[in-house]
């Protein structure tokens, strides 16, 4: 008895570790490529060539080795700690910025399930009933990274940057949370996997019932709030890399790299969340557990595991698209002034997201009563 | 007192004064080549011509004495035209040497051409009179006859000032040229000729091609070559001295030897020296300190001032001997015969500050003879002195005595068995007061910052007396002394 439980238990643990490994590796790889993609994309958008110098044995592969070169440079640089800095917090801050991003990965469903013999493997690390709320809770922890980073260095510019960061992130946190309320109302669940599953249905027989269809305003608001949470242009007054200096002035070497990397990892995570909530997650239109079922009665039966793989690929594709969109936004828009930024949040986005909730509730109520 | 009018300005001139001097006194500049305030009037160049009412011709202002009611115009159309023509005559055979001529930048011809000339040359290049170029005219001088405008300043200088008559004008018309006697100009004031030459004919071998005049920064100071302490202007640029010329404010004929004293800046001592070998300063300080402290115990430390050091440095030496070392075996008694023998500038006393020490020694320290006899007995462990002065004690100093000296230049071969030398700044690098042979106090002005420490700083570091002789007291002592002089 005890033996059987232990065996199953161990297998489950092993599977979870494999899932963590795959997802973690995917995000790390994507974030690493994003550092290159950002430079290459911005170059192409501005009619430039972009990074193309780093090469191994004469192969430069469109500059793909630049992230590696950057990594080596970051490791080789002097790890500088200011004399007056709070050593513990100074070391802790970059970790605090990076860790929450990876924790969020646990709630992201990247597929339905795999069926191997009797074993049913959920393609999600942890399916919690209220994972959406956990996502909000954990993502707000990232503020500590930014704020402690600026404060512990005992640099006035860093502190000002940290205060800006805290103000901005807390403000947009609110909007981010409120936009998700609409999604929860529509799909009636707090579990991301549940929400994704419900997006597999068809509206009027041809329109996928994705979040973006039901909650288009919320999607826009979510995108804006997510970019602001990410501290990226047009909301990068917090860092203002080239002009006003941000919270990580005193950081160098790998500590700085961790801050930078957390930013890129955040892009990936935000893209995943956005595609899960608004773009149907791993859902592919007309594809259900057994195969494609097009309107008009055409059926194509496919093995379930292959369906799951197609779905996972679709999810990856959606994530990449969202990441591309975020980069496009970053290289298109100029930066907001800090007062404009706060005004936009409290006077623009917040009322709009509240209105969205009221409107969604009203429509749902009306539809419900009409039923 | 004749009243005259120059350019509409009414001027009280002195009787027997020339127009040029009266004008200059009132801020009106009249161009000149041959006129020099310290030489006799010759009136050869005609550059200083002015228009005087009721005079039919233009007159040379350098030789015309003022008389009551003269009305003079120095800037009328006629005068300008005359100046332009004179310049054209002077420049007829002048070579196009400005790029390679040391006088460029302070050349009268250049300046006047820009002020009064500015004509287009009408004289073909091939017709220019060729003369002897670039030849040795003495120990310090090079002469270029093509550049000469025959103002005869140099001729008059050797006749009137030095009385050596080495230079004369030969031939006539455009063939005339300056001739130097066989053997060249070798009087001790020869470099003054390069100064007074208004063009680039006479140039200094020492300064030749080393720097263009417009780069030079000028610092008023005094020459420390002898007890006359002539006022000079030091020309330097980027931490390097290029030449020393007589001061603009108070003119004196400066001797060649004094002009070349700046060469010691090229040999500046930068490290300490222990027994003839270069050593690090901290090492030397430690060694010197140990010897002084051990000798102080049996009170066998002697110290001497120096006539080569300034009043401040001598005073601080005396102060430190009394308060820091607390010794009685020190002297400031240096006496030299002081006299300008040739009647121009050169003093027989080659030390700059012995006149001051003559008075100072009466109040401070023992007689020189006393110290000498003690030295001969060889009872001292340490003898502290400035390096140049030290050599006069040389035969009297015992072999066992350690000599601690301070020098600006690297030393001549050391005659002493045990010697530590510390580098000190020269008076080109720091301020110092000196008393000339007439008893007048004069001050040097630093051209650039010092690269080494002062004597008093070394002594304090070596002895480490702490509170025994504090710096404020020393400063007070020096200020009091200077105010009494």
């Amino acid at each position: 008895m005890c033996e059987i439980i232990t065996k199953e238990f161990l297998l489950e643990i092993a599977i979870i570790f494999v899932k963590i490994g795959i997802l973690f590796g995917a995000v790390m790889a994507l974030a690493g490529i994003l550092t290159w993609a950002e430079r290459k994309m911005s170059a192409l958008m501005q009619d430039r060539v972009g990074p193309n110098r780093a090469s191994i044995f004469g192969f430069s592969l469109w500059g793909l080795f630049h992230p590696a070169a950057d990594g080596i440079k970051m490791v080789a640089k002097e790890d500088f700690v200011p004399d007056k800095a709070d050593k513990v917090l100074f070391t802790l801050a970059p970790m605090l910025a990076l860790v929450p991003v990876f924790v969020i990965l646990a709630f992201i469903p990247f597929g339905d399930y795999l069926q191997i013999g009797n074993l049913k493997i959920q393609l999600q690390i942890s399916d919690l009933p209220l994972s959406l709320f956990l996502f909000l809770a954990i993502s707000s922890l990232a503020i500590y990274g930014a704020f402690l980073g600026g404060w512990s260095a005992k640099n006035n510019f860093g502190l000002l940057g940290a205060v800006r960061a805290a103000a901005q992130m807390i403000s947009y946190e609110v909007v981010l949370g409120l936009t998700l309320v609409g999604i929860i109302l529509v799909y009636g669940s707090g579990s991301i996997q549940e929400i994704v599953k419900k997006q597999g249905e068809m509206l009027f027989g041809f329109l996928p019932s994705w979040g973006i269809v039901y909650q288009f305003p919320a999607f826009i608001l979510f995108l804006v709030a997510a970019v602001a949470e990410n501290k990226r242009t047009p909301f990068d007054i917090v860092e203002g890399e080239s002009e006003i200096i941000g919270y990580f002035v005193e950081y160098s070497s790998m500590r700085f790299a961790m801050f930078m990397f957390s930013e890129f990892a955040e892009i990936v995570v935000v893209s995943m969340i956005a595609s899960a909530l608004f773009l149907g997650g791993w859902q592919v239109p007309f594809l259900n557990e057994t195969g494609f079922a097009f309107p008009g009665g055409i059926l194509i039966t496919i093995n379930h595991n292959i369906v799951a793989l197609i779905q996972t690929t679709a999810f990856a594709g959606k994530t990449v698209f969202m990441a591309w969109l975020l980069l496009l936004i970053r290289w298109t828009l100029p930066r907001f002034r800090f007062d404009q930024l706060m005004k936009l949040c409290w006077k623009g986005l917040l009322p709009l997201s509240l209105a969205n909730i009221v409107l969604t509730s009203a429509i749902l109520q009306w539809l419900g009563s009409g039923k | 007192m004749p009243r005259i009018t120059i350019d509409g300005k009414i001027i009280e001139a002195e009787k027997g004064e020339t127009i040029l001097k009266a004008a200059e006194r009132n801020g009106i500049y009249i161009p000149r080549f041959c006129y020099h305030p310290a030489l006799k009037i010759s009136g050869t160049c005609r550059m200083c011509v002015v228009e005087i009412e009721k005079f039919p011709k233009l007159m040379t202002s350098c030789s015309t004495e003022v008389s009551e009611g003269m009305v003079i115009r120095t800037d009328s159309e006629r005068v300008r035209k005359a100046r332009k023509q004179i310049l054209e005559f002077l420049l007829l055979n002048h070579p196009l040497d400005c790029p390679i001529c040391d006088q460029a930048g302070e050349c009268f011809l250049q300046n006047y051409y820009m002020d009064w000339g500015l004509y287009k040359s009408r004289f073909p290049l091939k017709d220019k009179m060729k003369k002897r170029k670039r030849f040795d005219a003495g120990k310090h001088l090079i002469l270029d006859n093509e550049r000469c405008v025959l103002c005869t300043r140099c001729v008059r200088f050797t006749r009137e000032i030095t009385g050596t008559n080495e230079i004369s004008v030969l031939e006539r018309g455009d063939k005339s040229y300056i001739e130097v006697d066989e053997g060249g100009i070798n009087n001790p004031y020869s470099l003054n000729i390069a100064d007074i030459c208004p063009v680039g004919a006479f140039t200094s071998k020492d300064f030749r091609f080393r720097q263009r005049s417009w780069f030079l920064k000028r610092t008023e100071s005094i020459c420390l070559g002898c007890a006359t302490l002539c006022p000079v202007e030091i020309h330097h640029n980027k931490g390097k001295i290029y030449r020393i010329v007589p001061s603009q404010k108070e003119h004196r004929w400066l001797c060649d030897e004094g002009r070349l004293t700046y060469h010691k800046m090229d040999r500046e001592l930068r490290t300490a020296i222990i027994n003839g070998n270069a050593a690090d300063l901290p090492v030397a300080l430690k060694k010197g300190g140990a010897i002084i402290t051990s000798s102080l115990k049996d009170s066998s430390v002697a110290l001497a001032g120096s006539p080569y050091l300034s009043i401040e440095d001598n005073a601080s030496l005396a102060f430190l001997a009394q308060k820091l070392l607390e010794i009685s075996d020190y002297t400031f008694d240096f006496v030299f015969k002081q006299e300008i023998e040739d009647g121009i500038s050169i003093n027989s006393d080659k030390t700059p500050n012995s006149r001051f020490l003559r008075g100072f020694a009466r109040k401070h320290g023992m007689k020189m003879t006393e110290l000498n006899s003690k030295l001969e007995k060889g009872k001292f462990g340490v003898f502290i002195c400035e390096r140049k002065t030290l050599l006069q004690f040389f035969p009297r100093i015992d072999e066992k005595t350690t000599v601690i000296s301070f020098a600006f230049e690297p030393p001549w071969k050391t005659p002493f068995k045990n010697e530590i030398i510390f580098p000190i700044p020269s008076y080109f690098q720091k301020e110092g007061s000196f008393m000339d042979f007439k008893g007048k106090i004069k001050k040097t002005t630093p051209c650039f910052p010092a690269s080494s420490k002062n004597i008093s700083e070394y002594l304090r570091e070596m002895v480490g007396g702490g509170n025994k002789a504090n710096k404020e007291e020393e400063q007070e002592f020096i200020t009091k002394l200077l105010s009494e002089l």
């Binding site: 958008m45 298109t332 | 400005c98 790029p99 390679i100």
Partner: protein
């Protein structure tokens, strides 16, 4: 002082909420992105150190300096320091020496141009009374791995002067032309 007030166009509602404008902007950047992604040859960037666009011979711009030579191979320069005086970047360092057998008794023992300070203004060429320095080598000074490499010595400055060249006087000719033009204009004005 006259104050001109510019009335900005009033924004329409669609413009005020940014969204449509943002989308328009993103369409522009996306268009560039895809155009350049699929036709990379359209990007006009030149891969500089490997590829260089040949300079036109008639080019009037100033390139790396050189010192001209006399027929006997000596430098034309007489170390008059005029270029050093005119140089606004203080990048020329000359030391003069005396030569007995030369026609001009003065010659440069050291003539150093620090390209890392040079601003390529051409004042040295303008100032030279001997027409000894020129900026017509058509070599555009680039980067170097040490400061010392950017210091041109007398030898390297003379190296490019195998044959005497007319191009060196181009600056001077231009300035003469502009002077003539200015004089003509003055005359016409009178």
């Amino acid at each position: 002082m006259k104050i001109t007030k510019i009335n900005n166009r009033n924004l329409s509602f669609a413009e005020k909420i940014y969204l449509s404008e943002i989308v328009k902007g993103m369409i522009v950047t996306a268009r560039h992105f895809f155009a350049n992604l699929f036709h990379p040859s359209r990007i006009i960037t030149v891969q500089y150190p490997e590829k260089k666009i040949p300079l036109s011979e008639a080019a009037r711009f100033r390139t790396r300096h050189r010192l001209k030579k006399r027929k006997n191979g000596d430098a034309k320069c007489v170390a008059c320091y005029m270029c050093q005086t005119a140089c606004p970047a203080d990048c020329i360092d000359i030391e003069a020496g005396e030569k007995e057998e030369s026609i001009a008794e003065k010659y440069p023992v050291k003539f150093e141009i620090d390209l890392s300070r040079c601003v390529m203004c051409g004042f040295c060429v303008e100032a030279c009374p001997e027409d000894a320095i020129a900026m017509d080598t058509l070599i555009i000074p680039g980067g170097a791995e040490s400061r010392q490499e950017l210091k041109l010595s007398l030898e390297s400055l003379l190296l490019d002067s195998a044959e005497t060249s007319e191009r060196g006087a181009v600056n001077r000719r231009i300035s003469a032309m502009s002077m003539q033009n200015a004089e003509r204009k003055l005359k016409n004005a009178k």
